[in-house]
């Protein structure tokens, strides 16, 4: 009690006010870790930028075509998101997309199969080859980067062999309507692919955060050894994760076949780096940080950004350059690693 007068009052006050500021800042940071606020702000800001500087940017037509593009990108990045969460990476996504687009066109268009069995063949092949990715990478403890790259080569090569390098056929017309900008879902003025994306985002969000399987996936990504001790069969998680990634990629390939009107061996290529960008811009990082909702935001941010750049009439080259620089600017707010001196 008697020590109170000995303490100089002024510095204490100053310290407490900086402490208050710091605790406010930590609370903001903690909130950002739980909810992707900066990503949302970036999305709104980019959208406003487009609305004010590009004519007819915020029309229904333009918003729907952005949503369709974002759905395809977001779905293509869904597999990559869970693979990154579990601590891996999947470079075979574009190969599965292209392969599925060719297989579905060939089976339904040239070989006159019904759509159902053709889709089933696509998805089953993808799931089994994706499972091989996960098994090999986990069983032999090798870099998934190389395994998935090899698998990509095998998948594209197998399709070449099967079609004799001459892919023919076009997918059924209703597939085109699913991704058509003028398409409607049960009378709603939204194309089915957007509704499908929303449904999958909801499903994946719940599975990741609210189910045992989801918790196991995060546990495996955060610390595989600890997860094994907690009786998580990490190999099963890896196999399931890579199988799911290939499954979604094949699904995107089928949708893209409808979008483009035919199968193509380069259809999936743009989705490799843009898909990865959607995952990282969303704020998901290697080792169980993030979720699919963030990737949804990331896909929206990237789509709005590239639509604005196209709308402002930049050349492809300038678009690429500005795209790269703006991603850095957007991510500066949240996607950076902690200081080394804070980790010692």
């Amino acid at each position: 009690v008697s020590t109170a007068p000995l303490q100089p009052p002024a510095p204490v006050e100053r310290a407490s006010s900086t402490a208050a500021a710091r605790s406010l800042w930590t609370r903001v940071l903690a909130l950002q870790q739980r909810l992707p606020i900066v990503q949302l702000i970036a999305l709104v800001a980019l959208f406003e930028w487009g609305t004010w500087t590009v004519t007819d940017f915020a029309t229904k037509q333009s918003i729907i075509s952005m949503l369709v593009a974002a759905s395809l990108l977001g779905l293509a990045a869904a597999g990559q998101t869970i693979v990154v969460l579990v601590g891996g990476i999947d470079f075979s996504v574009p190969a599965f997309i292209s392969a599925a687009s060719i297989v579905i066109s060939q089976l339904t268009g040239t070989d006159h199969w019904a759509f159902g069995p053709s889709l089933l063949v696509c998805l089953l092949l993808a799931v089994s080859l994706g499972a091989v990715n996960g098994y090999v990478a986990h069983r032999f403890q090798v870099q998934p980067l190389v395994v998935t790259l090899g698998m990509a080569s095998v998948v594209s090569g197998a399709v070449l062999l099967w079609t004799n390098a001459q892919a023919t056929g076009s997918p059924p017309p209703f597939l085109t309507r699913i991704t058509s900008v003028t398409g409607t879902t049960f009378g709603l003025g939204v194309p089915p692919v957007v509704v499908l994306w929303a449904a999958i985002a909801l499903l994946l969000g719940v599975v990741l955060r609210r189910t045992i399987a989801g918790r196991r996936l995060y546990a495996t990504g955060a610390n595989p050894v600890a997860a094994e001790f907690a009786l998580v069969r990490t190999r099963r998680i890896w196999i399931a994760t890579y199988a799911a990634s290939a499954l979604v990629a094949a699904g995107v390939g089928v949708l893209l076949a409808g979008y483009a009107g035919s199968g193509n061996s380069t259809l999936g290529d743009p989705y490799l780096f843009e898909g990865l960008a959607a995952v990282i811009v969303g704020g998901t990082a290697f080792g169980a940080r993030g979720d699919y909702w963030r990737t949804v935001l990331g896909a929206l941010v990237l789509t709005v950004l590239s639509t604005v750049l196209v709308g402002k009439g930049y050349s492809t080259a300038d678009q690429q350059i500005i795209f790269g620089l703006l991603i850095l600017a957007v991510v500066a707010g949240y996607g950076r690693d902690p200081r080394l001196r804070d980790r010692v």
Binding site: F91, V136, F140, Q141, V142, Q143, L145, V146, V147, L149, G150, M151, A152, S153, V154, V155, S156, G157, A158, L160, L161, N164, A165, V225, E228, F229, L231, V232, R233, F273, L276, A277, I280, V281, A285, F286, S315, T316, A317, D318, Q319, Q320, I321, I322, F323, G324, L325, I327, L328, V331, A332, G335, R336, D337, P338, R339, L340, R341, R343, V344
Partner: protein, 322 residues
């Protein structure tokens, strides 16, 4: 036998080198002209861009902290575009001028990557992904479509300079820089940082500078790869920005370098690149149909990485869940 396995485990590059030698022998058996000295300059010139791209991807990975540089492919392509579209048309095309400028640009881009990762603390994948987009755009801006070029020194580098194959000179240049750095304290600091950056920091290593130098070095090697690419193709193609990116990373992994950092070497990456290159030439010599090429290549790639990790990798931490 156990000794052999142990010594392989201590030198992750040794297995890759051995496998590369086996593949050289297989190539010679498949096509005897492979062993003829007169065919070496062409083979080495074709190998050089890929080998250098793999070497250029190595220091960043060694520096740890999730270090990876996916902008190596676009950077080497950008260098080739700069040489063809800017330097030669503007009278800066002589070897004495063009080579230093190319190396300067490469090191400069590497430096920017290093600052983004190390000072601004961006995740390496994201920082170099953005560099990839920017470089891809910049290449397209400088050169709208593929262009060819014909300059004496580039033709020489694509064949031979005096008695020495040009491809060998470029690979050796990068290797000499690497080995020279091995004489300096830098190399220890790099491996220490890659192994455990927090521990290295506590021990007084300037982790920031070590990482910046690693990325700059990668950029420098990528510039050499770009020169090698122009030398062998006598052209530049702005649309082929990412062709070397992923294969180069695969070569690094096959060469025994851990993608977690702190373990591996540039020599291993040369061996890894040689394995991938020799598989392709072998399939070519055996006249494997173009249709089968990709399937066989992919299968062999997976086999190579599985072999190299089961024989040389550290034992996986295995926990038997009851």
């Amino acid at each position: 036998m156990n000794d052999a396995v142990t010594s392989l485990r201590e030198r992750p590059w040794a297995f890759a080198t051995a496998l590369a030698l086996v593949l050289v022998a297989a190539n010679v058996i498949a096509r005897s002209s492979f062993a003829t000295p007169s065919s070496w300059p062409a083979t080495l010139a074709a190998f050089a861009p890929f080998a250098l791209a793999a070497m250029a991807s190595t220091p960043q990975i060694l520096s740890g902290g999730g270090g990876i540089d996916i902008s190596v492919g676009p950077l080497l392509n950008f260098i080739s575009v700069v040489i063809v579209a800017v330097l030669i048309p503007h009278g800066l095309g002589s070897a004495a001028v063009a080579i230093p400028i190319a190396l300067g640009i490469g090191a400069g881009v590497g430096l920017i990557n290093g600052v983004l990762v190390s000072v601004l603390r961006y995740q390496p994948v994201l920082a170099t992904l953005c560099t990839l987009f920017v470089l891809e755009g910049a290449s397209l801006k400088l050169l709208g479509q593929p262009a060819t070029v014909s300059t004496a020194w580039l033709t020489h580098l694509g064949n031979d300079v005096g008695p020495i194959p040009g491809g060998l000179i470029l690979i050796a240049a990068a290797l000499v820089i690497w080995l020279a750095l091995g004489r300096l304290p830098y190399m220890r600091a790099l491996y220490a940082t890659g192994g455990d950056d927090a521990a290295a920091f506590s021990a007084g290593v300037n982790v920031t500078v070590v990482r910046i130098v690693a990325y700059t070095l990668g950029g420098l090697f990528a510039a050499l790869a770009g020169i090698a690419l122009v030398a062998v193709t006598q052209s530049a193609d702005p649309t082929q920005s990412i062709q070397y990116t992923l294969p180069a990373l695969a070569a690094v992994a096959i060469g025994g370098t851990s993608l977690l950092g702190g373990r591996g070497s540039v020599a291993g990456s040369i061996a890894g690149a040689a394995i991938m290159f020799l598989i392709q030439t072998l399939l070519d010599s055996l006249a494997v149909s173009d249709l089968w090429l990709q399937v066989v290549y992919g299968t062999l790639l997976i086999t190579a990485i599985v072999l190299s990790s089961t024989i040389t990798g550290p034992r996986a931490v295995r926990v038997e869940a009851a």
